[in-house]
Symmetry: C2
């Protein structure tokens, strides 16, 4: 094919080729299914180095406009290209086992839209003025009721702060507390980065079979996942819960309880929040990211009194969370639709968990499956883990290794299987692809 | 009246009284209109110091649960108490002239809800998974089209980053650029705080009648409001626009163009964006806070290429802006409803501006009324300004003085009249209350 590219618009040759190709796809001059010239041919036509074209194609594959095919690069269908792009995107995976994400197709869209409508109808005239920096009062009242009942949190609406995902909450807390902040090792690497970036120092706290251990801990705060340790999956043992609260009281330290999926427990009573033991020593952090969907960017903190003003001062004059969304969540909570949705999801995820375990069989060691959206499949060596993640990239399976979650030395190995993430209709295939990969890794 | 208060729940006496009263109002035991016991009586009944009760009542007045009345404190109607509260709240003002806020009752609620519905219907299955950290592609495409057409911005969707209000954008930029950051003097004090809190150093740039002046400027970035200087209200003169771009090119500095209300210009052609002069030297920052409403928390930046990756890295793995809201704004932009709404609002605000000027008469000096939602009413001395803001508090008028917006010495004086903020039906009264206040200040 001849490809007429307008290279005048952009600076730099690679960027120019990228822009011209992108525009051609977007403008419809290159239609889905069209095969592009080979990198060699296009480079010769344009009089540029072949590496320049290779890099441009790679970028557009990353953005979802192109896909590599047996006969060269092919233009992908528009719906994909318009939903995943930007420097942060990768080509859509064939199987998505990202840990800690719910099935996005399970989002209760009709209920959410209805809640938005009701919230809009009942809202005061100034709902679209700058919102309360602490969060909409209706939401805080509804959360206080729900958290007290369902999670054993001592929650006063005046101590709740609504934030844009647990990540914003963690950032605010790290900025306010500063200094040495203890984090579980292993623990979610994304959270480590958030804390480090505020200038605080991360102090790793080793996790053993009872969870993290505060013995000898020298830090201003300790960030924990007591209901379901991420990524190892145990609940923090009762004596350790007490030990952390004792530590906080004795040293004036702070426990930050990240209750990211505490509502999704399958085999026994939910584990109540540590915060209930001492609301002046523990910050409770909860989120709608697992129960509804991360794209809502809705999370909340319940703060000890002495942290309320410092956190609000950090927030500044206005919340970062859209008011109408807050009011819609308040509607879902107050009408108990939130809990009904959770109950349905809990059954569905438990069933998925059972399917996964059945498919893996008794010879594979799996941890952390009493709760949540993610299982740790243990592998014998670091080499096995690395082979698994390399194979996953090759086969376009979104599957994370345990490795990046160690702050220090990797003490054992495995992959994190987000069995919550695939859409329901695709679960069986996703599990098959996974077991095949694990078979190849363990056989290799 | 006898008031049965349960003081056992909360720590501390004042806090206990506050909580018990709040619960009594919320639980309906104290009904709207009920008059509370005097502070002296309640203090005697509870056996606490009278000052403790005074402080508790004051807190609940601040939260909107109580109002001072001629016969003592009165329980306010629930609708008020549930919309404004928290440590950050003040009693609802009788007249709201907050500068730079649109009339919240003008928010196009029906269009917004319809756009949300359409966005939900057309969204891909994974719209509720973690969103693109750069912002939804549809929104970036729609913004690129709109900004190019309406604001003269050179906007490639791949250079746009969606953020949670201009404040988040400014924070990200200050974190990435660091060091000495120049800001107009006077300039919005909230923005100064945001920049300072990142650890950057604010370098004041004096504003004269042509706007800010980069002569001799020693800074890594300069934050400007070229279309409508806040708070003085002039447009940056053409020679100064060029001078800032020259400065940026010569020194490797960065111009940050805060185009907060550039779309609302009344008497002549809109002033195009400085960014169009050199997209590699200027960051363009825009927002829906003035055009639609600040509670949406929707803003955007157009970045030079070299800043894209550093800013995205700062954002981390996920945007802070809910995806569905982004897609709804994309709908409004692509269907041109956004521009139609703006056109209607522009006419309405121009009419308000004219009413304000007519009411103030020719003897009052007013600046910055060619655009935006706010006028600067100049007052002869600092004492006049301080008297005006004190009187405003006394009369429960939300009216800001120029003072806090000076980084250094106050060079002249006045009040910022946000004539955009009152609901349309209340504009006449709001202006009357203002002119009365100004009369008292100037006569005093």
């Amino acid at each position: 094919m001849d490809l007429l590219l307008d290279l005048s618009a952009a600076r730099g040759r690679r960027r120019g080729i990228e822009t011209a190709l992108r525009d051609a796809v977007r403008g419809g001059r290159l239609l889905p299914g069209a095969t592009l010239p080979s990198t060699r041919t296009l480079a010769a036509d344009l009089g540029v180095a072949r590496g320049t074209v290779v890099a441009a194609y790679a970028q557009l594959v990353g953005e979802g406009y192109l896909a590599p095919g047996p006969d060269g690069h092919v233009v992908r269908s528009r719906s994909v290209a318009t939903t995943r792009t930007g420097a942060s995107a990768v080509a859509a995976p064939l199987v998505d086992l990202h840990p800690g994400e719910p099935d996005p197709t399970s989002f209760p869209m009709a209920a959410w839209l209805a809640a938005l409508r009701r919230a809009a109808r009942d809202a005061p005239a100034d709902v679209f003025a700058y919102g309360d920096r602490q969060g909409a009062r209706q939401l805080r009242v509804a959360l206080a009721d729900y958290l007290g009942r369902a999670r054993g949190v001592v929650a006063d609406p005046d101590r709740i702060v609504v934030c844009s995902g647990a990540v914003e909450g963690l950032r605010l807390l790290a900025e306010v507390v500063g200094g040495r902040i203890a984090m579980e090792d292993p623990g979610l690497f994304v959270h480590r980065r958030v804390v480090t970036r505020t200038g605080a120092t991360v102090v790793p706290v080793p996790v053993d079979e009872l969870g993290a251990d505060p013995t000898g801990l020298d830090a201003r705060a300790a960030v924990l996942t007591p209901a379901h340790q991420f990524p190892l999956g145990m609940a923090l043992a009762p004596e350790r819960r007490l030990a952390f609260v004792e530590w906080a009281r004795r040293t004036g330290g702070l426990v930050v309880e990240d209750d990211y999926d505490g509502e999704l427990r399958y085999d026994r009573q939910p584990v109540g929040a540590v915060q209930g033991l001492d609301p002046e020593a523990v910050v409770y952090v909860g989120t709608a990211s697992k129960s509804l969907g991360p794209a809502l960017r809705l999370a909340w903190m319940v703060l000890p009194e002495h942290l309320l003003e410092p956190v609000l001062t950090r927030i500044g004059t206005s919340t970062t969370v859209p008011t109408l969304d807050q009011l819609a969540l308040a509607e879902l909570l107050a009408s108990h639709q939130y809990e009904r949705h959770l109950r349905r999801r809990r059954l569905a995820y438990r069933d998925r968990r059972d399917q996964l375990l059945a498919a893996l069989g008794p010879d594979v060691e799996v941890r952390g499956v009493a709760a949540g959206l993610c299982a740790l499949v243990v592998l014998p060596t670091a080499e096995h883990e690395d082979r698994a993640t390399a194979l996953a990239i090759e086969r376009r399976i979104r599957l994370f290794g345990l490795g990046p979650n160690w702050h220090g030395e990797r003490r054992f190995h495995g992959v994190l299987v987000g069995y919550g993430r695939p859409p329901a209709h695709d679960l069986r295939r996703s599990i098959e692809v996974l077991t095949e990969l694990l078979g190849d890794v363990l056989a290799g």
